[in-house]
Each structure stands twice: as structure tokens, then as C-alpha cells.
């Protein structure tokens, strides 16, 4: 089997971060978190059921009480993991989904906070996922706090961020400090590049670990069952992935 594609390493990393979850929710247009959750479900097959909610999807929605039910179930602790993106994410894991500049008349307006100001507090394992790893996304301080990374003592905080995954690296979040620690660097990237692309300070080992590539069994599960499942909800994403795999096979095969 050919080497893993960069997006396959991300998906496998997401599946690792989801180890042990019973119920995970992903946003409507989040093919990679969905693929990671589908891979987790496939890996746990026969051991523990993994429930996946894709918000806004008809086929991956088992709720019958309207869009409030997801939030109600999260409030009760029935949702173990959730993904949050962010136009800006800062070193305290504050997330900004609203815009750039002075609120409310921001220079650049993004859609809005959605459920973040609630789910960040109630879902135990929130994974910050943003492929773009640049100083404009990973900032020292966000312009608007849609949802804060940590809370003052006494504030109800059953949930919060555990990790930040980008196209270049994986960070762990330490809420006691609070701050991020570089856990691993994805293949073909290095620490200097990550320092230059990150707008906040973070802890790191002198020689950071490399993000592990999936083993052959995981990769085969990913390119078989998971890719087929994913194609039902994200056909364009799945088609692009398939065509990248075809190109990889052509390059890798002897002339």
C-alpha cells in the first residue's frame, strides 16, 4: 500500500484523539472530522458503539426533537466530543467565529458563534481543528471571544479544549497553565516553520516528535469502508481523495 496522504494522517490523528468516545458530533461542512469519527467507529467495531451526529445532515441525524436536542444532550453530558474551527484561535484557546476588527462593525465578518459559546463549556473533549496554520489564524489574542478557552474558578465548565490540530502540527492544551504544547509535527514540516506560522507562544520539546503515520491495517480500513461511508455525505471531498490516491498509485508504480 502506498504511503499515507497528508489528509489521511490528519484523519488518523483525529481518530486517535477520539479514542474511547461514545458520541461525537461534527459540523455540517466538516469532512475531515467526520472521516476521523467514521474511522474511530470502524476501529471500534464490535467493541463499543460510536455514535456520530453530522449537524444539518438528514442521514446522520438521529435526533427527533429539532435542533435544540443536540444542545440539550450536550448539557446533560451525553455528547463526548465535538470539533470547533475558528477564524482566529489564540494561545489561551479562545475561539473567534465572528470577525476581524472592532465589534460590532468588524472589517471582516464571519458567520457567527453558532453553538460554540455553549458546547465549549459542556462537551468534555473539544478538538480545535483548522487546516490553515498561519499567523492570521493562530493569533496571540482573538479580536472577539465567541467561546473562551478557560473559565474562572466557580464557573460551570464540564468541557473544553483538549487539542489543536492543524495542517502542520498537533498541540495539546493545558488548561492549568493555560497554554498549548506542541505534541507532534506532521511529515514534511519542522519546528522552525511552525514557530514562524504560529502567532502565539507554545511549549515544545527540543526535538518534537513526528505525527505518526497510520499502519497498513488502519490505512486499508480508511481507504475502504471509511471512504465509502464518507462519500455518501461528502461526495466532492471523497472524489478528490480518490483521485489523489489514483495519482499516488500511478507515481508509485514502476514504469
Amino acid at each position: 500500500m502506498s504511503a499515507a496522504l497528508p489528509r489521511e494522517i490528519l484523519i488518523c490523528t483525529i481518530a486517535r484523539l477520539l479514542d474511547g468516545v461514545r458520541h461525537v458530533a461534527v459540523g455540517a461542512s466538516s469532512p475531515m472530522p467526520a472521516a476521523g469519527a467514521m474511522l474511530r467507529r470502524a476501529l471500534d467495531d464490535g467493541q463499543r458503539p460510536v455514535r456520530l451526529s453530522v449537524l444539518g445532515s438528514v442521514e446522520h441525524n438521529f435526533f427527533t426533537n429539532g435542533s435544540a436536542e443536540l444542545f440539550d444532550s450536550a448539557g446533560q453530558g451525553r455528547l463526548d466530543a465535538f470539533f470547533l474551527g475558528g477564524g482566529q484561535i489564540d494561545g489561551q484557546a479562545n475561539v473567534n467565529l465572528v470577525g476581524v476588527g472592532d465589534y460590532p462593525q468588524v472589517k471582516v465578518r464571519w458567520p457567527g458563534s453558532f453553538g460554540s459559546a455553549y458546547l465549549y463549556f459542556t462537551v468534555p473533549r473539544v478538538i480545535l481543528f483548522r487546516e490553515e496554520h498561519s499567523p492570521r489564524v493562530l493569533v496571540d489574542k482573538v479580536d472577539f471571544i465567541s467561546a473562551p478557552g478557560t473559565s474562572a474558578p466557580g464557573v460551570y465548565r464540564a468541557g473544553g479544549p483538549v487539542a489543536l490540530l492543524t495542517g502542520k502540527a498537533l498541540f495539546r492544551f493545558d488548561k492549568a497553565r493555560p497554554g498549548f504544547t506542541l505534541e507532534s509535527v506532521h511529515p514534511s514540516h519542522d519546528l522552525d516553520e511552525i514557530r514562524a506560522a504560529t502567532g502565539f507562544a507554545f511549549d515544545h520539546a527540543e526535538t518534537p516528535a513526528a505525527t505518526p503515520a497510520p499502519d497498513a491495517a488502519t490505512l486499508s480500513l480508511l481507504r475502504g469502508r471509511v471512504l465509502d461511508e464518507l462519500a455518501e455525505t461528502y461526495p466532492a471531498f471523497a472524489a478528490e481523495w480518490r483521485s489523489d490516491l489514483a495519482a499516488l498509485t500511478r507515481e508509485g508504480s514502476p514504469a
Binding site: 429539532g66 465572528v98 460590532p104 462593525q105 453558532f114 455553549y118 465549549y120 463549556f121 471571544i145
Partner: protein, 269 residues
């Protein structure tokens, strides 16, 4: 255009608050054109809990004073261009919320109580910019601050559903946010794909997913009335059309040209 859509639009008067559903739940796009023709402005839109094309069109048409929402976008087609422009120009008041806060406000109105407490929010700029929201100490357990969301009582709720019967009962299936909007609003206006002759309440299978006529002010038939949005169980979203709008509405001129076509055309069969 059927006369009853126009008659329904006339129930909306300047300065009213309108509750409108999230793009996948059943947006009455069929009412957008009559609302714009009718021209009642200064509206306060409550998106349940997020908004999209319909809200962007009403903003572009100059009918909106305030948008209360957890988010506003065209989904896969990108940002909501007239909304984004209005925010930059300071042309509308924006009340940023979070999804469960909108649900809590409607639930409070449904129960006839002044507010509902919800978790989260504390320490966010969403809360900091909502002077109408409060934080109190949990009266049952000290040292536990909790946010309070006042009741949201829209003047009018407007949505689209698959079917209604002759008595005005509306089948909403499991899209319970449509019921939540109707319970909270003073009046509810509904467009449907079809009106059926049998009573939706006579059969337990349909009765469970039916919003009773008690909450419904008017119903009109509007086949493919969610287009270019889809309607669950009926038809898919027309993403190409949403993309076409997104590209056109980047400028006020492009928006005006798009709307000239939109206002003139018949709904596709």
C-alpha cells in the same frame, strides 16, 4: 403568485419581529418575494437558530433593522454577502447569540415565563455584548453563576413544511424547532408543498409530528416553496443556485440584478 401569499405578507407590519428557521428545517423562500413586494421595513429578524439566504435577501432589500442570530451564512456557498456588507457599513444592528440561547429564549416564551437559565456563555464576548442577558448566582446552590436568557416572543413566525390539512394543522415531522417558533410567536404563517384532504390529527402516525392549527394563523400552498433550499424528505438544496446568488450579491448592483430575476420568475416545477 397566489393571492394568499400576498395576503399573508400583509400581516407583517413595519417594525415587527419575525422568527425564521435554519436553512435545513424548512425556510419559506416562497414568502420572501411577497414580503419584499409588501415592503414592511424596520424588521427585527430572529434566526432559529441561524440564518441564510432569506435573511440575506431581506437585508439586501433594506427591510431589516436588527438581526438576532447565532450565525448567518449561505453554507457551502460561503458567507452571506448582503449581511456582511451591512455589518461593515453599520447598516444593521446585530445581536450575536449562540444556538441554545435562541432555543432557550423561545422555550421561555413557550412556557410563558420571563427567562430561562442556560450553561456556557460566561466569559464570552457574546454575553458581554448582550446587555439584555443577565448572569445571576444559582439561588439553589451558591457560587454557581448562570446566564439568563429573556423570553423571545416574535410577532410572526414564518416557515415552510411538507403538508397541512384543511383545518390548518401542519405536519412538521421531527423538525420541532418549527413548533418551538410557533409556540413562542404571536402569529405563525406557513407555506406547504400540498394541502391534504384527510385530517393530520386523525392518524396517530401523523398526529405525533403535527403542529396543531391552534398555533397557525394562515397556511398557503406553495409547491417547491423552500427553493433554492431543500425540504427534508422532499427535495435537495439547489447548491448551484445558492452559488449563483452568492456570486451575484457580492455587490449591491449584482444583488439588484439577481433580485430583478428572482422577483419576476415563477417557482420551478
Amino acid at each position: 403568485m397566489p393571492q394568499d401569499l400576498r395576503a399573508m405578507a400583509r400581516r407583517v407590519t413595519p417594525g415587527m419581529s419575525l422568527a425564521l428557521p435554519v436553512d435545513y428545517a424548512g425556510v419559506s423562500m416562497a414568502m420572501t418575494r411577497p414580503l419584499i413586494e409588501h415592503g414592511a421595513g424596520g424588521l427585527h429578524l430572529v434566526c432559529v437558530p441561524t440564518g441564510g439566504l432569506q435573511v440575506d435577501m431581506l437585508i439586501g432589500a433594506g427591510l431589516v433593522a436588527t438581526v438576532e442570530t447565532s450565525a448567518l451564512s449561505l453554507g457551502e456557498a460561503g458567507g452571506a454577502p448582503r449581511f456582511n456588507d451591512a455589518v461593515r457599513q453599520g447598516g444593521i444592528r446585530i445581536l450575536d447569540a449562540t444556538c441554545p440561547a435562541i432555543h432557550a429564549g423561545l422555550m421561555a416564551a413557550q412556557k410563558g415565563v420571563p427567562f430561562l437559565p442556560i450553561r456556557g456563555l460566561i466569559g464570552s464576548d457574546v454575553l458581554a455584548n448582550r446587555p439584555d442577558w443577565r448572569v445571576i448566582d444559582n439561588p439553589f446552590a451558591a457560587g454557581d453563576p448562570v446566564a439568563l436568557i429573556p423570553a423571545i416572543r416574535p410577532d410572526v413566525a414564518i416557515f415552510h413544511a411538507p403538508m397541512a390539512d384543511r383545518e390548518g394543522n401542519v405536519w412538521i415531522g421531527r423538525r420541532r424547532e418549527l413548533a418551538a417558533m410557533a409556540y413562542a410567536a404571536t402569529e405563525t404563517l406557513v407555506t406547504v408543498e400540498r394541502i391534504v384532504d384527510r385530517s393530520l390529527l386523525a392518524d396517530e402516525m401523523t398526529a405525533a409530528g403535527t403542529l396543531p392549527a391552534l398555533y397557525v394563523g394562515a397556511v398557503a400552498e406553495a409547491p417547491r416553496g423552500a427553493w433554492p433550499y431543500g425540504l427534508w424528505g422532499e427535495y435537495a438544496s439547489d447548491t448551484d443556485e445558492l452559488m449563483r446568488y452568492a456570486a451575484a450579491a457580492r455587490t449591491a448592483t449584482g444583488f439588484a440584478e439577481y433580485m430583478a430575476g428572482f422577483m419576476g420568475q415563477e417557482m420551478p416545477a
